[in-house]
Amino acid sequence: MPEGRGTFSELTVWENLRLGAYTRRASKDDFARIQTYFHWLGERRHQQAGTLSGGEQQMLALARAFMQRPRLLLLDEPSLGLAPLLVTEIFRIVRELNENEGLTVLVVEQNAHIALQAAQTAYVLEVGRVALSGPSAELQAHESIRRSYLGY
């Protein structure tokens, strides 16, 4: 899922999902399963994606990425331009996908607080090098991380 969503805003919600499954044959199950995570997708299937709110578009982008049945889901800045409440919601769903579907997720995120909460393992990059890595819980407790990224 690229930064800035890459949603086809002129197409409908459903068409966006169908495009997600472009490389394979999507079944009814896929559409049903995605709706267990995003309940609203079904009833708004004919809505133009561009008329969704920012958070909804982000969720649609996530749903579309999931329709591709990835073995590894790459998320580039999923919190970009979203209200804090929606960021929490997005990360909740990402976690759910991770736990229920066994989907491996790699998130690049500047919101260190929420990223560390959601992830099991974290890497801190500084000028392109891994400066620190380890289980998220450890990093969260790490002194320098707390100062530079979490701000307390």
Binding site: P2, G4, G6, T7, F8, S9, E10, L11, E15, R18, L19, G20, Y22, T23, Q48, G50, T51, R64, Q68
Partner: protein
């Protein structure tokens, strides 16, 4: 490579209420006129047939414009060339309709090959593509004249010369046939775009090439198919022009200008707009020619563009166009 720079956000969703009301009023006017006057009815049907040809060529322009943001100036000449191919096939003894469908296949291949060979290497530059289509206009025109000569050629009449009478109104079978074939090809294309996976992928590739590539759509192939389909529509327009204009190398040049007017009238981005623009233009020109004394056939093109200018002054994005904001 595709870039992320092409990001458009649709602001309004196209058709506005005044436009719809205007079109409805126009349609009612045509129906009432046709019921009260036989000549009016005849001219309306003939105008619709003419307009359907404008509409299919306009749709070809719109298809390519949506995908490439370029007007294909060679679209008309390509249509002429494919019509000559059909003519050649009938000369070799094939029946009209067999030649017709074979020609559509050939047109598809021709359009796709042109995109792959000529357009693809330079598609990063809009202005280069425009210049190349102008070059192709001259090239194809030259090739057609060289191969078949500049004199008039005649094909078998596809629909016969029967005239139907309904009440006092005479409908030429040819007009009805042209109208049906054009509308049918437009409807088939719409079904392809709206209901098939290929059509969805083509729309995605045209709207957002970068995002389409990310979900696995082969954007370059979609563009080639788009050019192929545009050439098919052009071929339909050419073949449906031939019965009234006869075959000559310049056959589609005026039609291309009308088609361009129709496409701009409809909003250039809107397939529905192109077809409705074409139909409206055809009917309008025919009725003006019938009822307004000074509007002789030499004045038709200027009148068409005067109308276009007027519409664009009121609605700069065309009847079905949408305002676009570019995110930088």
């Amino acid at each position: 490579m595709v870039s992320f720079a092409k990001q458009k956000t649709a602001v309004s969703t196209g058709v506005s209420l005044p436009v719809l009301a205007g079109l409805a009023a126009g349609a009612i006017f045509l129906v009432v006129g046709s019921v009260s006057s036989d000549i009016f009815a005849q001219q309306t049907v003939a105008g619709l047939a003419l307009g359907a040809v404008f509409g299919s060529l306009a749709l070809a322009l719109v298809l390519i414009y949506r995908a490439t943001e370029v007007i294909n100036f060679a679209q008309g000449e390509l249509a002429t060339a494919t019509t000559y191919i059909a003519y050649q096939l009938t000369l070799w003894g094939l029946s009209y309709w067999l030649s017709f469908f074979l020609t559509l296949l050939i047109a598809f291949a021709l359009g796709a090959v042109i995109q792959i060979v000529v357009i693809r290497p330079i598609q990063h530059s809009v202005i280069a593509v425009v210049i190349v289509t102008v070059g192709m206009f001259i090239l194809i025109d030259g090739l057609v004249t060289w191969k078949w000569g500049a004199d008039l050629k005649f094909m078998k009449a596809p629909f016969g010369n029967t005239v139907y009478h309904a009440g006092g109104v005479a409908f030429a079978q040819q007009d009805i046939g042209v109208l049906l074939v054009s509308i049918l090809s437009v409807v088939l294309l719409w079904v392809l775009f709206q209901f098939t996976k290929l059509g969805l992928a083509m729309r995605a590739a045209a709207l957002r090439p970068a995002a389409a590539a990310l979900v696995g759509v082969r954007v370059n192939w979609m563009l080639a198919i788009g050019w192929g389909l545009a050439a098919v529509l052009g071929a339909v327009a050419g073949l449906m022009t031939e019965p009234t204009q006869f075959l000559q190398p310049t056959m589609m040049q005026a039609i291309l200008l009308y088609a361009f007017a129709a496409a701009v009238l409809g909003g250039l981005e809107s397939p529905v707009g192109a077809v409705i623009g074409g139909l409206a233009l055809g009917v309008f020109l025919n009725l003006i020619g019938q009822y307004v004394g000074f509007a002789t056939s030499e004045l038709r093109l200027p009148i068409a563009f005067a109308v276009l200018l007027l519409v664009l002054l009121l609605k700069p994005n065309g009847l079905f166009g949408r305002k676009q904001v570019r995110r930088v």
